[in-house]
Symmetry: C2
Subunit: 197 residues, 2 copies
DNA sequence: CGCCGAGTTGAACTGAATCAAGAAACGTGG
DNA sequence: CCACGTTTCTTGATTCAGTTCAACTCGGCG
């Protein structure tokens, strides 16, 4: 079944049997995306939360000078959305793009409410997701406030070793808030150090 | 009544009458803090969410090099907490300190659950708070990724004109992720520009 | 085969950090 | 309420991490 990862994800966290969840998910579409296809573009209203069944998504913004800033990489079993756009009904300032050929479950905005009604415990699960999100953002702010280019890169390797191998360096750089050239130099330095030790 | 701001805040958002809310808040302590007094210190477990009735709180971290990084300023009617510590039961990596003489309502960690039970609509209000928090953090990340020292300062003035006047520059600098010296120069430059125009 | 985006490297530049010193503002205890 | 020490703010000189610009290589894809 094409939504298997999402079903696992929910049934594991909700302790609700797979068949019932499968039933609830019936009217969520699954979309197959080619590499570089967009799920959301700047100024659009974000209509869905996306669950990545397969592949890799990237959420990013483009600033006034035309520079890309990667907000998030979302590999298998991750959720992506522009909560600001969804929740406050604003046009989004982000792009969400498939970085690889991907399968995505499109979760409508009202779906969470529906789920809350049918599964009481879903509310607290949703809460957990929000808290996780907050934790994640908070840590990133801390990193941006305190760490050098090298430290950021090391932290990134530690946290997302798999992603490093799946995206071009230029995008890692835009996640870390440094230029691709700087990242290239940081890597060179690290290689030198590791060779010495 | 000493919790009046919190009562207003909740009754406005919950459309629940003041007396009932007042009753529910009965077992929340109010604490008066002298300037520089701490509500939370690094490595402690955060036991409360704090609602600022009066005064100004600051949440910050200290990195390995001993530098302070301001996470948040919380003036009247703001909530502060280390959600990561509260929710995931971890020792906190933050300090929460009174920046002025302040009155704070201490909201116990189970209080939100209690409220959810008694006021069904509270759940969605809480949701809104979490989304707001996420929006706030997300915007800050965007700023840190894309804006220069001067831009950050201008954004700060725009967003928190009142706070600017209530805290030393050194703390604004630590919020913006720049040194106090740099902030001083940015201000000087801006003063020059404004004089010309 | 030829092209284009990604990565590397070098040289010059620059925004911000660091270090240092002096002036002003603050607060604490006598 | 004054006096003293501490913190904050400013300014200058210097340094440095990271950016910018430009040239060249490499690997993949049409």
């Amino acid at each position: 079944m094409e939504k298997q990862n999402l079903i696992n994800f929910l049934s594991k966290n909700l302790d609700f049997n797979e068949d019932k969840i499968s039933l609830l998910l019936e009217d969520c579409q699954v979309k197959n995306l080619k590499k570089h296809e967009f799920l959301l573009q700047e100024s659009e209203f974000c209509q869905f939360t996306f669950f990545v069944e397969k592949g890799l998504l990237r959420q990013y913004s483009i600033d006034e000078k035309g520079k890309e800033h990667t907000i998030l990489f979302a590999p298998e079993n991750w959720l992506v959305s522009d909560r600001e756009s969804v929740y406050f009904n604003q046009p989004s300032s982000y792009f969400i793009q498939a970085q690889e050929e991907s399968d995505v479950v499109m979760i409508g905005n009202n779906f969470f409410e529906i789920l809350s009604e049918k599964i009481p415990e879903f509310t607290s699960f949703n809460n957990k997701l929000l808290h996780n999100h907050i934790r994640h953002l908070q840590n990133r702010i801390n990193m941006l406030l305190s760490a050098s280019a090298e430290d950021r890169y090391l932290q990134f390797i530690e946290m997302y070793p798999d992603i490093l191998l799946r995206v071009p360096q230029i995008m890692v750089a835009s996640y870390l808030g440094i230029t691709p050239e700087s990242l290239s130099r940081v890597r060179k330095e690290l290689a030198k150090k590791n060779f010495k030790n």
